[in-house]
Amino acid sequence: MAVVKADPGLCQGYANCVVAADDVFDLDDDGVVVVLRDEVEESEKDRVTDAARSCPVSALVVESS
């Protein structure tokens, strides 16, 4: 499994993560990131890492657990 972490304080609501992986990330009504699943399968890790890296303010990380 891999762990998905977000720093809501950094999030600016650019929404790249949601467009890349809307099964893992969403934005709340204030436009701040919400992690829908904080653990993802190893098989999903590359895709979710790509989504995390698409954040312009580096508010997201995916780490091996």
């Binding site: 609501g13 650019y14 949601v18 467009v19 934005l27 009504d29 436009g31 790509d50 890296r53 698409s54």
Partner: protein, 410 residues
């Protein structure tokens, strides 16, 4: 011998290509050649947080030496590429050294269009970390500041300068309002009022005749005869692709490196980012985008196409660009502005948040500008390139307004 991918250009396009090569399982050597000596850094903060002193060079570093070593990316900083031999598969650096490659990625970006009114102390462009640091030093001394050009860079610099407490800021553009091309007339007027409301003197619809320098400082002369004294001038009039070093190669250059849908400029030669001109399927044209997100997407695609040559993927661009001005986030996706018809959907806080949706002449949804309403932006971004009508998207966006305690949408 291990294959070698040489990436020329160490900003976001180059760094993300290098990282995506590793993520795609590429096990050859990866060299990241950069003209600047600084570690790779991100550019959007240069006109915002870094300029204002709210973020540091460390904050905007894209790849540290440790992270590069861990990923097996060899950094080659402070070395400009000066030539390319496609058939011989090597590039030449300014000091004459040649680097051999199996695959080459051109990610040299774009440079600021220089001031046509001459360069002199106090007159700045903004594209590199060095530019931002020099501008921050001058803005730290106060105004007056004159910003020539109300595109993304100019509008953001004017807003940041006001946020920094610079008292006397003037924003000048021959267009009728800021970001006129992408916002369309009504929304561009809103943006002009945004700047005026934040204390910026705005002069739109008038060009600049020249910049003079005297003992008292700089003087910006407008075509209508008005003169604005300035301690600092920022010239934000666009960027030109850094493709000069490829002039003697056989690559097709046309305001950037012309690529196919896979990002290929020639056999084993690819381009990404501001320097790349790629086919846009919906516009049926070659497009060179200077957008962070499209660069990141191109980098991922080109890295895949190098690592998995047997299953290349074509670019599927969805335009997306954002701009932060004062406490507003403006997000733009798809085809917007110009002569397109448009409707406005009020957001959760209608005084502050809204979406403007644009339609193609046949009524299909073309694109959107959202202001302080990221959830509407997501809906619109996903709909770009679909067959949805403007009315359908208007309905979906309206449904994104949060329901209040009384059960009504604002």
């Amino acid at each position: 011998m291990n294959p070698v991918t040489v990436i020329v250009g160490s900003s976001i396009g180059g760094v993300r290509t290098a990282q995506a090569l590793r993520a795609s399982g590429y096990d050859g050597e990866v060299l990241l050649v950069g003209e600047e000596t600084a570690l790779p850094y991100d550019k959007p903060p240069l006109s915002k947080g870094l300029l204002a002193g709210k973020s540091t060079v460390e904050d905007i570093t894209l790849l540290t030496e440790e992270a590069a070593a861990e990923a097996g990316i060899r950094l080659v900083p402070g070395r400009a590429a000066t030539g390319l031999d496609v058939a011989g598969r090597w590039i030449e650096l300014a000091d004459g050294e040649r680097l051999r490659f199996d695959d080459l990625v051109i990610a040299t970006g774009a440079r600021a269009r220089p001031s046509p009114w001459g360069g002199m102390p106090g007159v700045h462009v903004l594209r590199t970390l060095g530019d931002a640091e020099a501008l921050a030093r001058d803005l730290g001394k106060g105004g007056p500041l004159v910003v020539i050009g109300a595109g993304f860079i100019g509008a953001e610099v004017a807003a940041t300068a006001r946020d920094m407490g610079v008292e006397d800021v003037t924003l000048v553009d021959p267009a009728p309002a800021p970001l006129h091309g992408v916002l369309g007339p009504e929304l561009a007027d809103w943006c002009a009022r945004l700047h005026a409301g934040n204390g910026v003197t705005t002069r739109f619809g008038v060009g600049v005749d020249g910049i003079d320098r005297s003992a008292e400082g700089l003087l910006v002369r407008l075509a209508d005869g008005k003169r604005f004294p300035a301690a600092t001038v920022v010239v934000g009039i666009g960027a030109v692709p850094c493709d000069d070093w490829l002039r003697s190669s056989c690559l097709r250059l046309d305001d950037g490196v012309v690529c196919d849908a896979y990002g290929r400029a020639a056999e084993n030669v690819y381009a990404v980012g501001d320097v790349a001109r790629v086919p846009h399927p919906r516009k049926n044209a070659l497009v060179r985008a200077e957008h962070w997100t499209s660069t990141v997407e191109q980098a991922a695609r080109v890295a895949h196409n190098i690592a998995r040559k047997e299953s290349p993927r074509a670019h599927e661009p969805v335009e997306y660009v954002w701009s932060d001005q004062y406490d507003n986030t403006i997000q733009i996706t798809g085809h917007t502005g110009g002569p397109l018809s448009a409707v406005t959907v009020p957001g959760p806080d209608p005084g502050r948040a809204f979406a403007r949706l644009y339609a193609e002449p046949d009524g299909s949804f073309a694109g959107a500008v959202t202001v302080n309403w990221p959830r509407a932006l997501i809906t619109c971004r996903k709909a770009v390139g679909s067959a949805a009508s403007l009315e359908e998207i208007r309905g979906s966006v309206s449904a994104k307004r949060p329901v209040t305690k009384t059960g009504a949408r604002p």
